[in-house]
């Protein structure tokens, strides 16, 4: 249900192209909810001349991203769809598409227009004829196999080379084979041989991520197989060398935008689930805990599938929560006793089971978990609740579980909102840690005073230098942390790797433990190290460990290290953003003084050595590693 009809949306977008136009931030939620490909294409056509800031408004900072597009075919049809998809994903993209069929030149030539553009991400678009020989012998498939392997290897080497030279992140994809090629062969055995050779070429592409952390491969072949669209429209291909049908262009645009969203740290972290008609069929209040539909038969198995898929999300670091209008007692009984339930109470970090409006409950869940609304996805069968949350909390993404329950699991996963670039060890243990955090907060209420509570936790902080193994987690922290983030400096993995190895830089990470559990690598400090002066380039800490003085303990550790190395000053920048209020007063509270008028640079003298360590924290590893 889009609140703005398409014609109005287009008129309002056109208005934003005039000089001095005022922002129209209602457009962004409307663009996110566009359901039709033609709508997305029309909107994308107009977006080319509209500053993204005017569409999203100033209160919603979008992530800037330079996106280079290079292909073996004409990709102009993809462009408007990609513009819409990237903006909908929260990205202010500057997109450059090089000319038709320039992929090899773009990637291979260090002075190519693509290299000059200095992209953050390069989307490499491939089609089957670019891998196939110009004219191949249908009776010599061994020769075809060799050619395909060599062609895939060449694209792979060029991609790796471009990534290494420029530091860009590369997105390749597996290449679907046109049925025209398949049916060119009449013998079934030959078709199998072609299929083998084709898959080997795709496999060579799929192996590339193992060779570079900057190279990623989207499995387009699998995605296309699940779409009711033709791979290509022969008219567009013959006339203009457009190798993908509009449906495939739309599919790719959506997937590539989900990848960019993951890359820029905008992945959603929490899935908030309704219960009745969402996790099971029927209404618990009417049907009773034993009367709900859940089991091996349709439709109970469709609801079960939603539970299974939600559990798999949880295993990969997505936090699950419940938001249901129900009485708590029968719900607790189902979670504890129903034999078919896949999800149990301990799979959830929090539950809001009551009769209050759901928008308020989502806000409250956010407070309880210390997670912002723009990390949440809400999944509910009720059109009313979905619309309420869309209207009242536009930062929450809503997935409506309407229609046949058999489609619900695919709808939930099809959103791509939880996509990340890769998993870290932290992802695997996230639910347990958040549950402990909820316990801690309950403990705080019982302890009476904050200080008494903190004393009772027996907090320990360990600071250590990041090594190559820490790089993915450091990258994730820099990308995903918005609140305690002093400068919003976000490095690529390659830049982090370089800093870790450098003598002029230091990357420190820290772990936190208390009597309820431990959390490794909850924050990172990026430092530039000169003899007399150390500079904090960024200080990032996960919101899970807020309000315990951890940041002061870590700063204490940094101060001690700097002093031990003979530095007399510690300098830090603080760049306020729309989101990092929790970090804004940090340096001032720690005794730093502002330098000059800008108010963004702070300075701390290290003689006499300031003592910043809170009394309730033990600092470990002070002398061990540095």
């Amino acid at each position: 249900m889009n609140p703005i009809p398409l014609a109005d949306l287009l008129t309002r977008l056109r208005r934003l192209r005039t000089d001095g136009a005022a922002p129209d931030p209602q457009l962004w939620p409307a663009i996110r909810e566009l359901t039709g490909m033609v709508e997305r294409a029309k909107v994308g056509g107009l977006l080319a001349g509209v500053p993204a800031r005017l569409v999203a408004g100033d209160s919603r900072p979008l992530r800037p991203l330079r996106v280079g597009l290079t292909g073996t075919f004409t990709a102009d049809g993809l462009l408007p769809l990609l513009r819409t998809a990237l903006l909908a994903a929260g990205i202010d993209a500057e997109i450059q598409l090089t000319g038709y069929g320039r992929l090899m030149l773009d990637l291979g030539d260090p002075a190519s227009p693509l290299a000059d553009f200095a992209p953050d991400v390069v989307l490499c678009l491939l089609h089957d004829e670019a891998l196939l020989p110009d004219d191949w012998d249908p009776t010599d498939l061994a020769a075809l196999d060799q050619h395909l392997t060599a062609a895939a290897a060449e694209i792979g080497e060029l991609t790796l080379g471009f990534a290494a030279r420029t530091g860009a992140t590369m997105l390749l994809h597996t290449v679907p084979l046109s049925a025209l090629e398949y049916r060119t062969l009449v013998a079934q055995r030959s078709r199998a041989a072609l299929g083998r050779a084709w898959r080997r070429a795709n496999l060579a592409l799929l192996d590339l991520p193992d060779r570079s952390p900057q190279v990623h491969v989207l499995d387009l072949e699998t995605l296309v197989a699940n779409q009711p669209v033709a791979l290509r429209d022969e008219r567009r291909y013959r006339f203009a060398r457009m190798a993908w049908s509009p449906g495939v262009e739309d599919l790719y645009a959506t997937e590539a935008a989900a990848f960019c969203r993951a890359l820029t740290g905008l992945s959603r972290k929490v899935l908030v689930l309704d219960l009745d008609q969402t996790l099971w069929g029927g209404v618990i209040g009417d049907d009773g805990p034993t009367g709900i539909e859940l089991g091996s038969l349709y439709p109970g198995n469709a609801y079960l599938e939603v539970q299974r898929r939600a559990k798999k999300l949880r295993q990969q670091g997505v936090l699950l929560a419940v938001c249901s209008k129900n009485s708590p007692e029968p719900v607790a009984r189902v979670f504890a006793e129903h034999p078919a339930m896949v999800l149990r109470a301990e799979d959830f970090v929090a539950q809001a089971v009551n009769w209050s409006p759901k928008d308020g409950n989502l806000r409250e869940l956010g407070h309880r978990l210390n997670l912002s609304l723009d990390s949440m996805v809400f999944f509910d069968d009720s059109a009313f609740e979905c619309e309420l949350v869309r209207q009242s909390l536009p930062d929450v993404r809503v997935v409506h579980a309407d229609g046949d329950p058999a489609d619900h699991a695919a709808r939930l996963l099809g959103s791509g909102l939880f996509d990340v670039v890769q998993l870290t060890d932290t992802d695997l243990e996230r639910t347990g840690r958040y549950r402990a955090e909820v316990q801690r907060r309950a403990g705080l209420a019982e302890a009476g005073s904050t200080r008494a509570f903190l004393e009772s936790l027996q907090l320990r902080v360990r600071i250590r230098r990041a090594d190559s193994y820490s790089v993915p987690r450091v990258h994730q922290l820099l990308q995903r942390t918005n609140q305690f983030n002093t400068t919003n400096l976000r490095w690529t993995e390659a830049q982090i790797e370089e800093a870790v190895a450098s003598d002029d830089r230091m990357v420190l990470v820290f772990d936190v433990a208390d009597r309820l559990g431990s959390e490794d690598t909850v924050g990172v400090v990026l430092l530039t190290v000169a003899p007399a002066q150390w500079t904090i380039d960024n200080f990032v800490m996960s919101c899970r460990v807020f309000s315990r003085g951890i940041e002061f303990a870590v700063l204490h550790g940094v101060v001690e290290r700097a002093s031990r190395h003979g530095a007399s000053r510690l300098v830090a920048d603080l760049i306020p953003t729309a989101r990092n209020a929790p970090a804004v007063t940090f340096y001032r509270e720690a005794g730093f003084t502002p330098v000059a008028e800008s108010g963004q640079t702070y300075d701390l003298a290290l003689e006499p050595l300031p003592r910043l360590l809170p009394a309730w924290i033990d600092l470990e590893g002070e002398t061990a590693d540095v």
Binding site: V38, K42, G77, R235
Partner: protein
């Protein structure tokens, strides 16, 4: 203008970056600023997504005016050509 003509001009407008009211059946594609074969292809995609029709690219590319395009699409839709102009 007929319903179909209105519908088609509303499809042309965003591709041509024009207001629908500036188009009529006599409007010539070659007079539209920056009109190109790639834009014509996007228009074809939009037409075929919104209407149950598949166009012959040779005939589609030889169309000169909005009215001729409406006729071609009407023929594809199986109606008699619309003559209300």
């Amino acid at each position: 203008m007929s319903d179909l003509t209105t519908q088609i001009t509303e499809m042309i407008a965003p591709v041509a970056d024009l207001d629908p009211s500036s188009l009529n059946p006599e409007s010539r594609f070659e007079d539209i600023d920056d009109w190109s074969s790639l834009k014509a292809l996007s228009l074809m995609v939009n037409v075929e997504q919104d209407l149950p029709v598949k166009l012959d690219l040779r005939r589609f590319m030889s169309v000169r005016t909005v009215g001729e395009l409406v006729d071609l699409i009407a023929e594809g839709l199986g109606h008699a050509a619309e003559t209300e102009r």
